[in-house]
């Protein structure tokens, strides 16, 4: 018998779209959106773009755009990538400058060109890696039970909030590239 592939699985588009729309609306209304100056855009389907402010220990400020692809949402977390704000996509190595340098943030990895995705061994892509991103599960991770993405408990906010914290001092130090 073939060994089942690890990682996320497909979700019916109508369900993924409904979940994305619902949680985009919750996210826009959340008190932290105003508190931290977050800005969000939704394409009406499964794609949410988050504009997040970053601050370094030296006082430098910046803004990064993060694509939250809800293709498998909310059975699985959003596929999360830092993207070029003009194209809203990520091409390696052209778009390296649109990635932040984040150092020392616990249980967080940002890999500009990761290879080793379980569902697509030939894929080389950006991997934002923690247990509230889909890439984490598609790169052979097994979280502790209390850390695992849990539909109905975790939602877009949960992912965005970790990204926001990673983009603050002392972790954020500048841009790649």
């Amino acid at each position: 018998m073939a060994t089942p592939r690890q990682g996320s699985s497909r979700v019916a588009r109508s369900l993924a779209r409904a979940s994305a729309q619902r949680d985009f609306e919750r996210l826009v209304r959340h008190r932290d959106a105003a508190r931290f100056g977050w800005h969000f855009e939704y394409d009406g389907n499964i794609l949410v773009m988050a504009h997040l402010k970053a601050k370094s220990a030296s006082g430098g400020e910046d803004v990064f755009v993060v694509s939250l692809d809800c293709d498998s949402y909310d059975t699985w977390p959003p596929e999360t990538k830092f993207v070029n704000p003009k194209t809203l996509t990520y091409e390696h190595p052209t778009d390296l400058e649109h990635l932040p340098v984040i150092t020392g943030f616990p249980n967080f990895g940002l890999h500009p060109a990761y290879s080793g995705f379980s569902r697509d061994p030939g894929r080389v892509d950006q991997l934002v890696c923690f247990s509230l991103t889909r890439g984490y599960y598609d790169s052979c991770h097994s979280p502790q039970p209390h850390q695992k993405w849990t539909p109905g408990r975790h939602w877009l906010y949960s992912t965005v909030r970790v990204l926001h914290r990673a983009l603050q001092p002392p972790y954020f130090t500048g841009r790649m590239g």
């Binding site: 919750r26 249980n107 990895g109 990761y114 080793g116």
Partner: protein
């Protein structure tokens, strides 16, 4: 007392702390008497949120770890200006072990 903190304190000496649970985005407002310890504010927040502390949980105020301040009384906490907007975040640990692929 900080202007924002003063605005959150009522005439009976209670101060309103907003506590946000990062895992779920849920929040509660805890009206705390001046004599409560910050630890009590957080315990009350967990209870009102229907959550229990998990391994690795931490509480922050705008990025500042509140662990050193848990035994301060509300009055002292506010006077020291540690969290002027009286907003706390309870942060649960995420998973993120080393990976087998290459980057």
């Amino acid at each position: 007392m900080d202007t924002q903190a003063a605005a959150n304190a009522d005439t009976k000496g209670h101060s309103d702390f907003v506590v946000i649970y990062d895992d779920t985005g849920a929040d509660v407002t805890i009206s705390a008497p001046a004599g409560w310890k910050i630890r009590k504010v957080i315990e009350e927040a967990y209870d009102r949120l229907g959550e229990t502390p998990r391994p690795g949980d931490r509480v922050e105020a705008d990025g500042t770890d509140l662990a050193p301040y848990l035994d301060l009384r509300v009055k002292e906490f506010i006077e020291q200006g540690i969290a002027p907007d009286l907003t706390f975040n309870i942060i649960s640990a995420t998973g993120g072990a080393s990976i087998r692929g290459r980057s």
